[in-house]
Symmetry: C2
Subunit: 392 residues, 2 copies
Amino acid sequence: MLSIPNPFEALNSLETLEILETFESLEALETPCLIIDAQRMDRNIQSMAEMIRKQRVNLRPHAKTHKIPAITLQQIEAGAVGITVAKVSEAEVMAAHGIRDIFIAYPLVTASKIERAIRLSRQIELLVGVDSLAGAQLLEKIAGRHGHTLQVRLEIDTGLRRTGVLYEQASELAAEITRMPHLRLTGIYTFRGSLLAGKPTLDVAAAGKEEGTLMVQLAERLRAQGIAIADVSVGSTPTALYAAAVEGVTEVRPGTYVFHDRMQARLGVCSLEDCAGSVLVTVVSRPSEDLAIVDGGSKTFATDIQPGTDPLQLRGFGHILELADAQLVRLTEEHGMIELGPQAQAANLRIGDKLRIIPNHICSTVNLHNHVMMQRDQAYKRMPVLARGMLE
Amino acid sequence: MLSIPNPFEALNSLETLEILETFESLEALETPCLIIDAQRMDRNIQSMAEMIRKQRVNLRPHAKTHKIPAITLQQIEAGAVGITVAKVSEAEVMAAHGIRDIFIAYPLVTASKIERAIRLSRQIELLVGVDSLAGAQLLEKIAGRHGHTLQVRLEIDTGLRRTGVLYEQASELAAEITRMPHLRLTGIYTFRGSLLAGKPTLDVAAAGKEEGTLMVQLAERLRAQGIAIADVSVGSTPTALYAAAVEGVTEVRPGTYVFHDRMQARLGVCSLEDCAGSVLVTVVSRPSEDLAIVDGGSKTFATDIQPGTDPLQLRGFGHILELADAQLVRLTEEHGMIELGPQAQAANLRIGDKLRIIPNHICSTVNLHNHVMMQRDQAYKRMPVLARGMLE
C-alpha cells in the first residue's frame, strides 16, 4: 500500500527532504555532474504557467524531463492542475511524494500494470491513456473485477505514427469505450512534439495551431455523436502556447520547458540563456592543440538527438558555454572529444579545467544521472532523480 | 572508510546478496526489462578466459559492460586477474563488494578523485591511468602528501584520438614519471576498440595484431631507455584474442564479451546466439498492419550506436528475436516503432504480445537499467546494476 503524504505538508518539506548533500562552490563538485540553475528553472516554470493561464487552459506538465517530485510540486504550486507521466512506476514515485493528480499518457495493456493503476486511482486522481479496443477491453475487464471505474483518455494519432488510434477510426473506438461500464472516457489527447524535429520547416506556431485544430474538430465530431468529451489535451514544449490559443483546447502537456535544452533553442522556443541544465565536465587530456578530452561521454550526454541527423542541424552533442568555436564532436562511453577552433585554442585550455555544456536533449540526459546539482545562488544541492530508470 | 569483505566469503554469498526478487516465469516480468541469459553469460565468461589463458596472457575484463559486482566475481573465479573500470566511483562500488584488484583505466586529474584513489589503494591492489605530465605531477604531489606510492600505467594513443599520450611522445613522458618518487610506473596500456566501428574494413584479426605490435614495440623502446615496463595491456572484445597472440603483450581488457551484442555480432566476433542480453518489451499499440509500437524507447535502448551511421550497417536499434523481417526503426523516449515486413505481418502480432530485442550496444543499454533479470533455467532473478550511473 502506498503512503500518500499530505500535499501541503509535502510542498513545504519535500525540497528539503530530497536534498542529499549541499556543496558551497562549483569547485567542490565532482564531475561529470548535471547542474540545474534553479533561477532559470523557476523562471521557466513561472513563465509557462502564466502564458498558459492567460489562455484559460489547463497546464499538466510532463514529468519525464526532470523525474523529480519536488520540481513537480513546484510546477503545481505555480498553477499546474496535475502532471503527466509515461509509466505506472513514475506515477507511483510521484504519488508517494504527494502528487495527487496524475495522467499516465500511455496505453496500459498488461494486467499487472492495470492492477497497479487501479490501486493508485483509489488514492489519487488518476487518468490513463487508451488507444485500442483490445486495450480498452482489458482495462474494462480488470476494472470490472475490482468494481472500480477507471478514468481514461483516448489517444489520437495526429501524424507522429506512434501510439494513438488513427484519426479516422477515433469515433468508432470512442463509441465502444463509452459502452464499457467501468471506463469513463473524459477526453482525447495527442502528442506530436517529435514530429517537429523531422519536418523540413520548423514553424512551431503553425504546428501548434494545426495540432489544436485537428483535436478540437475531432472533439466536436465526437460530441455530435453524443460522446461527452471534456478534455482536449495537446501540446509539447514547442507547440504548447500556440495549441493553447486554439478555442476548444482545454489542456496542454509540455515537459522540456522546465529546463529547456539546445534542441528547443534551435527550434526558437527559448534562448540558450533559458537553458537551466548544463553538464559540468573536466578536461582530462589535451592530446593536441585542437583537441580536448572531457570526462563525459554517452553515459553522461543523451545521444538520442544526434548531431547533423535532423533538420535542427545541431553541431556537436551540446553547446559549450565557455568556448565559442569548440564542438563536442564525438562521444565514447566515458569520454567526450571536443574539437577546438582557433579562438578556443587561444583560450589555452588546461588539464583539470572545467567546462559547462548544455545538452542537445535534456530529458534523456537527466535520465542518465542518479542526481542533479540544484544551484541556487552559490550553493549546489544534490537531489536524487527519484523516478530515474522507472521503466516498468 | 570502506569496508572490504573477505573476497572468498563474497564469492560464495554475493550472488545471493545481490538478488532483490525472483520471478518464476517470463510472464511474471514487467516490461520493458533487460534479461540476461545466465547460461550464455557463463559460456562467454568461460570461453574468453580459456582463450586468453591459452595465450598465457592476463585477462582483466572491463566492468563497464555489466556494472554488477557479482558478475565481476564470476569473471575472477574464471581466471581474470582483476578488473578494469573507468571511474573512481565504479572502483569504490566494486571494492565495497569484495573485488581486490582494480585498474582505473582513466586519467585522474582532480585532487578529490586522486584522494579517493589513494584511499582505495590502501585497501586493495589499485592501478591508475595517466596520460599527461600535468596529470602525473598532480598524482605525485597528492600521493607525496600522503606518503603513499601510487601504481600507474601510462595510456598510449594508438590512433583513436581520445585520451592517451601521443605514441611518439610516450618515451619522454614515461621517463618523467619514473623520476617521480611517489609514482610507480608498472606499464603501458591502450584502447582502440571504438576505432573499429569507424573503419571502412573490419578486419578484427589485423586490428588486434597491429594494436599488440605497436604496444610491444613501444615497451621495448622504453625498456631500452632503462624504463622497466612490466605490463603491456591492450585489447577490446573484438581484438582481445588477436592482440593476446602478439608476443610481449601481458594483459587484455575486453568488456562487452560478457554479454556480447548486435554490434559484436556484426563485427563477426560472436553470433547472435552468443548474445546474453535482450530487452523484453510489450506491444502496446498496433496502429496499422505494418507498424507495432513497443514500450521501450531511447530510455530503454542505447542510442550511441545509431543504425546506418557507421560501417557496421546496423539496421534498426536492435535485433528482434521473434520476427524475421521486422525492424526497430525509430525511438522516442518511451516508445519503440517496429516496422513489420510481410512475414512479420503474417505473424499477426497482437497488443500485449511480448518481444525480445538484442540491443545494438549492450554496455550503454545496461547503463539505462536499474536492474537486470538474470535468467537461469526458468527463474528470473532481479539484480541491481550497482555501479549504474557511477559517473563521478
